[in-house]
């Protein structure tokens, strides 16, 4: 496969600077509302802060891939004397927890780095993080040319429905719903 140059968007998370204000959650859910900015709801945000003030844990985590089954990770991490669950660092929309799922439908959520045409200067969460715990970094990388089309929200959602109910049942349901 051919190598191509690609701009990779990434966010450096300086958890030491996070104050736990949730502005990132507010603006993320607001950006992704339909119509845009018409509502906000941190439970729909694609970034969430693991926020345990009395243990001084402030950990912003981005929504990653949807997964149909939970993993075996049950380990603990101790960093600077603070105990974290392995799951705290995980980006997956996973059956073991409510995180990164639409609260009403349960459909998975995934960070899209606020993909938009024309491109934003930086993702909204970064723009709203005045504490500078979130820093946007672009770098050029040589990567394998992708032959796979990037999945959109609806495809990811449908994929999760198919995993749960089977393709035939989803098709039957859609067919029933579109009947006049």
């Amino acid at each position: 496969m051919a190598k191509v140059k690609k701009i990779v968007k990434s966010i450096t998370i300086d958890a030491d600077k996070c104050n736990g204000c949730k502005a990132c959650e507010v603006v993320c859910s607001s950006w992704h509302a339909n119509p845009r900015y018409s509502s906000n709801n941190p439970a729909r945000s694609r970034i969430r802060i693991v926020r345990l003030p009395l243990r001084d844990i402030y950990l912003p985590v981005y929504a990653g891939e949807y997964t149909e089954a939970e993993c075996t990770g049950r380990d603990k991490y101790i960093i600077d004397g603070k105990e974290y669950n392995e799951c705290d660092f995980c980006r997956a929309s996973c059956p073991s927890r409510d995180l990164f799922k639409e609260p009403d439908s349960g459909l998975p959520l995934k960070c899209d780095m606020c993909e938009e045409t024309p491109a934003l200067d930086k993702p909204k969460c970064v723009e709203w993080c005045l504490a500078e715990a979130l820093i946007y970094v672009e770098r050029e990388e040589e990567v394998e040319e992708e032959d796979q089309v990037k999945l959109g929200d609806i495809e990811i959602g449908l994929g999760s429905m198919i995993d749960k109910y089977g393709l035939q049942q989803v098709l039957d349901t859609v067919a029933r719903m579109v009947k006049p």
Binding site: P35, N40, N41, D56, W128
Partner: protein, 653 residues
């Protein structure tokens, strides 16, 4: 659909154990906005003036503000209203944190609690599912401990909890409601919560909050964030360090406490220590603060960092903001290390950081004066720190002398008698005030202290500098980018104000100018309290991001209710007048409108009379401080005038 607000309140009757979700009248939004405004309307309609604080009929209202939980940065305040056991007037208290936005995400603007539960309970609001749950296992627990226990038992770390500690359970007249890094402390609302048998309200919400004009609203929010950033890079030089920027006074970030420790009073608000602050103390206090402060922290959707997580070695971790690090320190003539240690206990017990240390220092003064004796303090240690810890324990348990001191200095003095009344010298309307004693009367502050319905100077002052810069050039420079003024005349008031001479206190600002300045300051607080906006980004600091010129756009874009500057201003006037009317109906009159008795050494009775007369006139009150029939009707408060007439309040005074 309603925008900005949710349009539903939660009505909980603890006597009957009933819970109802009730739709609210959108016409009230236009009139009173929300938060304190609609709370005042509910208190007027549903709590008759003869209702006492510890009555089943007293309501305890936990309200969000109109814009809480929307994208507006810093809009997160919970406004609590009830009848105060201490002042016997309508208690006013608020807290920041995360509770109010969470309530709106759960689908409610307010929780209105009436009745009393026989057993200790807590309320669990989880979106549409609301339960009254047994709290007997939480009895006696600290407020922070309670929050953690509830999160653990309900297995969700994102639940927001407002809880009382032992002080609230035992109905201490200045018991607070604690919520993580914030607390609603003034007026003894924690005591009312305890009287109702309610240990905590836990909330979790995962629903949407909608706004009417999304693109416009986001543009306004972005402008505010940009201005906050700009203001951070442009502190106002020449002001004390803690007042140069935005937010609450930056007590957690800044260790330089020269201003507080040398200008404010120590002990029972008695002793000024002008030479206290030395290089040595600064070094020591800085070290103390940096050693215990784990992290600076924020409230919901706010870039400011006014609070901190505090971990004193050997003590449980707690959170703190603002000035309480010094109130115990200074009342006990001790140091900052003691301040952080005792504040940990005080936070768990849940007491107000002004009233509690002052009541303790007052008790010790009575001992020194021989009005109380050693027998009243059995087993009390000899050192000042030990005595304060001893008294705190006695007060929250209402044991021995603690039972007296738990009512605050006013009521304790009257119960103790034997001349103790003289030692209650720093209250307004029976409520302890900032420990501050000054020389020359300041006409603006005279009015704010005397007439403020919230009985707390920090909830009325702000925006207008506390003192003039020394030179006219510096004052002219200050007003150049002062976009927040509602009218250009305020710039002139400030530029002309001199530190000394004819154009200085007490005769300048003039009577008229003083009334205008107070009117502006208190209006902005009333708007904030209706919207749920933190005063730290609006009515309190100099040159804030929110002001009368952008608020109408915020309200219109959020709610879809078209409001201009005059509408918003009038709504604040309406709520201010209704708050006055509530207290007038409970018996408050002109004779109650006075500052702490020895707040200033130099007093001017004639000038003070003129100030009060003019202020009442501007506000549409008669010479007894009672809103006139005409002014009430003009504000659409005809129902208040009618009741005043029926009750003979105008005739009998």
């Amino acid at each position: 659909m309603r925008y900005g607000e949710i349009g539903f309140d939660l009505e909980v009757d603890l006597s009957r154990g009933s819970i109802d979700r009730v739709e609210t009248d959108p016409r009230d939004t236009k009139l009173y906005l929300g938060g304190l405004g609609t709370n005042a309307k509910i208190m007027w309609d549903r709590v008759p003036p003869e209702t006492e604080a510890f009555s089943e009929d007293n309501l305890l209202i936990f309200s969000s503000g109109l814009l809480c939980g929307t994208g507006a940065p810093g809009c997160n305040r919970t406004i609590v209203s009830t009848v105060s056991p201490q002042t016997k007037l309508v208690a006013y208290s608020m807290m920041g944190g995360f509770w109010a936005p969470e309530l709106k995400y759960a689908g409610y603007d307010k929780v209105i609690i009436r009745g009393k539960s026989d057993e200790l309970v807590y309320l669990w609001i989880n979106n549409d599912k609301v339960e009254i749950r047994d709290a007997s296992h939480l009895r006696g627990m600290g407020a922070t401990e309670t929050s953690e226990a509830i999160r653990k038992e309900l297995e969700d770390p994102d639940i927001q909890v407002a809880a009382i500690g032992l002080a609230g359970e035992n109905r201490v007249f200045y018991a607070s409601v604690e919520q993580g890094r914030s607390s609603a402390s003034r007026g003894g609302i924690g005591a009312v919560m305890g009287d109702k048998g309610l240990k905590a309200i836990a909330v979790r919400g995962t629903k949407d909050i909608n706004v009417a004009d999304p693109a416009k609203y986001m543009e306004l929010c972005n402008d505010v964030l940009k201005y906050i950033k700009w203001r951070e890079d442009h502190p106002i030089k020449g002001m004390p360090p803690i007042l140069q920027g935005l937010g609450s006074p930056q007590e957690m970030a800044i260790a330089d406490e020269q201003w507080h420790t040398t200008s404010f009073m120590w002990g029972n608000s008695r002793t000024r220590r002008k030479d206290f602050w030395t290089h040595q103390i600064e070094e020591k206090w800085r070290e103390t603060q940096e050693n215990v402060r784990t992290r600076l922290i924020s409230c919901h959707n706010c870039p400011m960092k006014c609070g901190a997580t505090i971990s004193v070695p050997g003590l449980p971790t707690y959170m703190m903001k603002c000035y309480s690090k010094l109130t115990y320190t200074m009342a006990a003539f001790s140091d900052l290390d003691f301040g952080f240690r005792i504040a940990q206990k005080a936070t768990e017990y849940g007491v107000d950081g002004f009233s509690a240390p002052q009541s303790m220092a007052f008790g010790l003064e009575l001992l020194e004066a021989g009005i109380l004796t050693k027998d009243d303090f059995p087993g009390m240690p000899d050192d000042s720190e030990g005595r304060f810890f001893y008294l705190l324990d006695k007060i929250v348990r209402r044991e021995g002398v603690g039972d007296y001191l738990a009512d605050g200095t006013y009521w304790a003095a009257r119960r103790i008698g034997k001349g103790a009344e003289k030692f209650d010298h720093n209250t307004i309307k029976k409520h302890e005030q900032l420990p501050l004693k000054l020389g020359m009367l300041n006409p603006v502050y005279y009015l704010m202290y005397s007439t403020g319905e919230k009985i707390n100077i920090t909830q009325i002052e702000g925006q207008f500098p506390q003192e003039p810069f020394p030179t006219r050039e510096a004052r002219e420079e200050f007003v150049k980018d002062w976009i927040q003024v509602p009218d250009e005349k305020f710039k002139k008031y400030y530029v002309d104000w001199e530190p000394r001479g004819e154009m200085s206190n007490p005769y300048y600002p003039t009577v008229e100018a003083s009334c205008d300045i107070v009117d502006w300051m208190e209006k902005m607080h009333y708007i904030d309290d209706a919207l749920g906006m933190c005063a730290g980004l609006s009515s309190f600091p100099l040159k804030p991001p929110y002001h009368i010129h952008n608020y109408p756009d915020f309200i219109t874009a959020a709610t879809g209710i078209k409001m201009n500057k005059d509408d918003v201003w009038q709504s604040a006037t309406r709520t201010r007048t209704l708050m006055r009317a509530l207290n007038v109906r409970r018996g408050m009159r002109r004779s109650d409108d006075k500052p702490p008795e020895d707040h200033w050494k130099k007093r001017f009775p004639d000038l003070e009379k003129q100030l009060l007369d003019q202020y009442y006139k501007l506000k549409g009150f008669n010479d007894q401080g009672i809103p006139t029939k005409e002014s009430l009707q003009e504000l659409g408060l005809g129902y208040v005038a009618e009741e005043f007439e029926q009750k003979g309040i105008y005739v009998n005074g």
